[in-house]
């Protein structure tokens, strides 16, 4: 799944239907209202969100305003007649249109009737956007961009796992029991609270987190750059676009790592077979695409890396393939090893003459968080919130300029540093002890 990084900062959300299908009147207002209500319920069943139908006097001020519109309808996103685009919704935020959901009135909207387009299925999808989700490439997922037909009866519909996990990543899991079923139209829905929690949308904590740098691992995988930090990762496409400000859970994407995985040390894509190797502590895992191969993890000792003072390497700092010669380089504790990986599946050990000292990579940090090949085959060294580019094939550049990872990769206005905890907070929340107390 993918999220936009935008979310509502309140759990009570109001909705209203501004108008009803007018071109093909296959569904009446008394049918549309409960369909909409049930479509919202699909999301509130698994989170702590509560949806309230706005009263008629509050209709125009509802958070999610639903309307049926044709062609140009004053939002810059015209509809295109029957077929083609069916609907759209605006992501949560401070804008006046945030959350608004528009259905193309030229479609024949139906319910459980294949002769038209199922309003319930499309509404569940669009409300996913109105709550902050992007399109998903997973199957099954209601957030796939293409219309997939009816999803069945409103009363028995349950979100697929991918969508449930997506919405829970934004709003958490539901603590209380599922939302009661709206058996009848909106008259039976709870009334909106007298006052709604108002205020600007607060920035998601992950946005700040992303701008702080300190990534555990950075990897060029299938032409995209993955930044791993703690149990999450961010992903940057070939175009330089960050897929989402919101990070994804490592364990939800890379299948087969231990459920307790909360940090990876280094990752790289093997040249010979495009397998993806994860290093965590004294073990490594080999993935075919996003699934781990059987027989892993294996001990790091398979790689045969011995330090200059005769110790076995127990942890990897960085791993990458240098485009200059196609060899694999692994960094650990200020030393690096070179591997000439061939077609054979068993590791042969490092090339002779290794390890060497990482200060041979002049201008780059001696203990990088990770290294990748990127751009024109240049080596990118990452450390804390900075990166250094060593031009293709060069280890001995006269000057290498330090650049900002936060600004250049993470789309941050500027780097942010982790705010130190205030003394008041320390004293107020936690006991403060010292050896003499």
């Amino acid at each position: 799944y993918a999220t936009t990084g935008l979310r509502w900062t309140k759990s009570d959300i109001t909705w209203s239907v501004q108008n009803y299908p007018s071109v093909h009147k296959r569904l009446t207002p008394t049918q549309v209202d409960p369909i909409i209500s049930y479509a919202l319920k699909a999301w509130s069943d698994v989170t702590n969100l509560n949806f309230y139908g706005a009263s008629s006097s509050e209709k125009d001020r509802a958070d999610i305003r639903i309307s049926f519109a044709r062609s140009l309808h004053d939002d810059g996103y015209p509809f295109d007649g029957k077929g083609g685009t069916l609907a759209h919704a605006f992501f949560p935020g401070e804008s006046d249109v945030a959350g608004d959901t528009h259905f193309d009135d030229d479609e024949i909207w139906t319910y459980l009737d294949e002769s038209g387009t199922d309003l319930f299925a499309v509404a569940v999808h669009e409300f996913g956007h109105a709550l902050g989700l992007s399109h998903s490439s997973s199957s099954p997922s209601i957030m796939k961009p293409y219309y997939q037909g009816s999803v069945g009866d409103v009363g028995s519909y349950i979100l697929p796992d991918d969508d449930r996990e997506a919405i829970q990543s934004l709003y958490g899991r539901k603590i209380s029991s599922p939302t009661p079923s709206p058996n009848k139209p909106t008259s039976h829905l709870p009334k909106p609270p007298a006052t709604y929690p108002k205020g600007p949308v607060k920035p998601d904590p992950s946005i700040q987190n992303r701008c702080e740098g300190g990534f555990d691992a950075v990897a060029n995988l299938r032409g995209e750059v993955f930044f791993f930090k703690g149990p999450y990762f961010w992903r940057i496409q070939r175009t330089g676009s960050l897929v989402s400000f919101q990070p994804a859970h490592i364990k939800n994407f890379w299948m087969g790592l231990p459920p307790t995985t909360n940090k990876v040390d280094a990752v790289y894509e093997r040249k010979v077979d495009n397998a993806i190797i994860f290093f965590i502590g004294s073990q490594y895992w080999v993935f075919k695409n996003t699934e781990v191969l059987p027989g892993y993890p294996r001990p790091l000792s398979d790689w045969g890396m011995i330090t200059q003072d005769g110790r076995k390497v127990m942890r990897v700092d960085a791993a990458f393939i240098w485009a200059h010669n196609g060899k694999t380089y692994i960094f650990s504790g200020g030393e690096f090893w070179r591997f000439s990986e061939g077609r054979e599946t068993e590791l042969r050990g490092p090339d002779t003459g290794y390890p060497r000292n990482t200060n041979l990579w002049k201008g780059a940090p001696s203990n990088p968080d990770d290294v990748i090949t990127w751009g024109q085959g240049d080596a990118y060294f990452f450390k804390d919130n900075s990166y250094w580019v060593l031009k293709n094939g060069e280890m001995d550049q006269t000057s290498v300029t330090k650049k900002s990872t936060a600004v250049d990769w993470m789309m941050c206005q500027q780097e942010t540093t982790k705010a130190p905890e205030s003394p008041r907070r320390r004293e107020g929340v936690n006991c403060y002890c010292d050896n003499s107390a």
Partner: protein, 89 residues
């Protein structure tokens, strides 16, 4: 016979741009989308949709491009987000 193919191609490029697979063209420079860029975009669209990655506008790809869908892009880059915000303002 070439006209429909050309039309299919330009429609395909339009579709890829609209749903975020190709970056929007810069009207100041008027640069053409590169052949490689379009092929990459088609592959990305095919990967996202779970189709065989051919990089070509084959029949499965064209069929999916003609399938009714949500109007929001599949790939939302920072440029799109900023553009949307500006448009909304």
């Amino acid at each position: 016979h070439s006209a429909p193919v050309k039309d299919q191609y330009s429609r395909g490029v339009d579709w890829l741009s609209r749903y975020g697979y190709l970056p929007p063209l810069d009207p100041r420079t008027g640069q053409l989308q590169s052949k490689d860029g379009i092929e990459r975009a088609i592959r990305e669209m095919q990967r996202f949709a779970g189709l065989k990655e051919t990089g070509k506008l084959d029949s499965d790809t064209l069929t999916l491009m003609n399938t009714p869908r949500c109007s929001l892009p599949d790939i939302i880059g920072i440029e799109d987000k900023l553009k949307k915000r500006r448009r909304k303002r």
